[in-house]
């Protein structure tokens, strides 16, 4: 039954209040103000919640911190081999990079049957790549070992640098967490890698655009986004990238 002057019926209200007693859903206040029966039901749910809360407050033992050893110095933790990717001519690189950078800012899509969380993460990944187009520079100059180890630090894990020429390495933010943003030089242009040890996806999330393609892969409890030019053979790259990374968390 709908309470006078409201759009919500009693059944909807009761289902909603039992799911979220904070009454954050639309039209709740108007309904309960006009419906005596639902007002009583709300009081019943709030009383139930008060008991649930007390029941959940079990005794907590004294905090015993585990032995926390200082982290090793970066140079002792990451000691990776270096291998250059195949080189293209400068002119072909520039053309590819321009196409890639343009594609990055015009309408990407992600596909698949992932969860809402997967889609939210994909949207953040795409937005982030769009906001750092300068990272997609075509070059044969690798970032320094010091810069690489600053970004792939012991808090994140380790990465075998032999996956290709790493031309960009910065710490960026996804979902409030610092994550390594790398660019390696692929066969068809720059390839973005976002290493996200704290962002889990339920299944691979495909990302596609007019001139680019990519994927977010579940890796352990985290995920890795790989985004390259349309012609880039991402499939071949997937295993190499996944095998090269080991999370510390």
């Amino acid at each position: 039954m709908k309470a006078s002057g409201t759009d919500m019926n009693c059944e909807d209200y009761r289902v909603s209040i039992a799911a979220d007693p904070s009454e954050s859903f639309d039209a709740a206040a108007a309904h309960v103000a006009a419906c005596v029966s639902c007002s009583a039901y709300k009081a019943e749910i709030l009383a139930l919640d008060a008991i649930i809360e007390k029941a959940l407050h079990i005794d907590v033992p004294e905090l015993k911190l585990p032995e926390l050893s200082p982290l090793a110095n970066d140079e002792n933790v990451v000691n990776l081999p270096f291998r250059r990717a195949a080189r293209l001519s400068a002119s072909s690189w520039i053309g590819i990079a321009a196409t890639f950078a343009l594609a990055a800012v015009i309408g990407w899509q992600f596909t698949g049957n992932g969860t809402e969380q997967d889609r939210l993460l994909a949207a953040q990944v795409l937005a982030h790549v769009d906001h750092e187009p300068w990272a997609l520079k075509v070059t044969d100059v690798a970032v320094s070992e010091a810069q690489f180890t600053r970004v792939i630090n012991p808090g994140i894990g380790t990465m075998d640098r032999g996956i290709g020429l790493v031309s960009y390495a910065q710490t960026c933010i996804i979902n409030g967490m610092n994550i390594p943003h790398l660019v390696i030089q692929g066969e068809k242009g720059p390839i973005t890698l976002l290493l996200m040890p704290n962002e889990w996806v339920s299944a691979p999330v495909a990302l596609s655009g007019e001139s680019v393609n990519g994927v977010i892969l579940p890796v352990g409890d985290g995920s890795i986004a790989i985004i390259g030019a349309r012609e880039e053979r991402i499939e071949e790259l997937k295993k190499r990238v996944v095998d090269s990374v080991e999370w510390s968390i």
Binding site: S16, I52, E53, A55, L56, V60, G176, M177, P197, N198
Partner: protein, 171 residues
């Protein structure tokens, strides 16, 4: 800043975050695994992992959901390693029984037992909402399911608990 000062600051930051959130982490772990002994192990292991990756936490304000995620994963790892059987309410270990220790309020005792017997899928979102103050959206993100599914589970959880405690009271 020299490395010793950096280590000290890192440790101070860790202690600050953990001291504020320790109770929440423990209770969350305990209600996930329904065993205080295991919960302590899970939290210890989670804190070690958190320590190693503390630099990935940009803002302390995000520490709660970050640490809860680590505890959740560590709990899953623990049960993967140990392959424990499901809990039999009539045959509890002393550690498990401690969670159901009598309280002065019989209503709370009945509710605690009902919570203990509630299926994992219903118990976890309720703990996150009632005990830890998460919104349904935050719960969806942490568990990795849709917000609509969270709402359904929360509704069913409360109905199940309500029925269980009413049945207990009538007995």
């Amino acid at each position: 800043m020299n490395s010793r000062n950096a280590d000290l600051q890192r440790r101070q930051r860790f202690d600050r975050v953990v001291s504020v959130l320790h109770k929440d982490l423990y209770r969350y772990a305990a209600w996930l695994c329904r065993d205080p002994g295991i919960a302590e192990e899970v939290v210890q292991e989670a804190l070690l992992r958190a320590w190693k990756s503390l630099d990935a936490l940009r803002e302390d304000g995000a520490a709660k959901s970050w640490l809860l995620t680590i505890v959740r994963r560590e709990n899953a790892r623990y049960f993967e390693r140990k392959r424990l059987e499901t809990v039999d309410i009539d045959n509890l270990t002393p550690s498990q029984s401690a969670m159901l220790a009598e309280t002065e309020d019989p209503n709370v005792a009945d509710m605690r037992q009902a919570m203990y017997q509630l299926e994992d899928d219903y118990r976890e979102p309720l703990v996150l909402q009632v005990l830890l103050g998460h919104t349904t959206r935050e719960i969806a993100e942490l568990i990795g399911i849709k917000q609509g599914a969270v709402l359904t589970r929360l509704h069913r959880a409360r109905i199940k608990l309500k029925e269980a405690v009413e049945k207990e009271a009538a007995a």
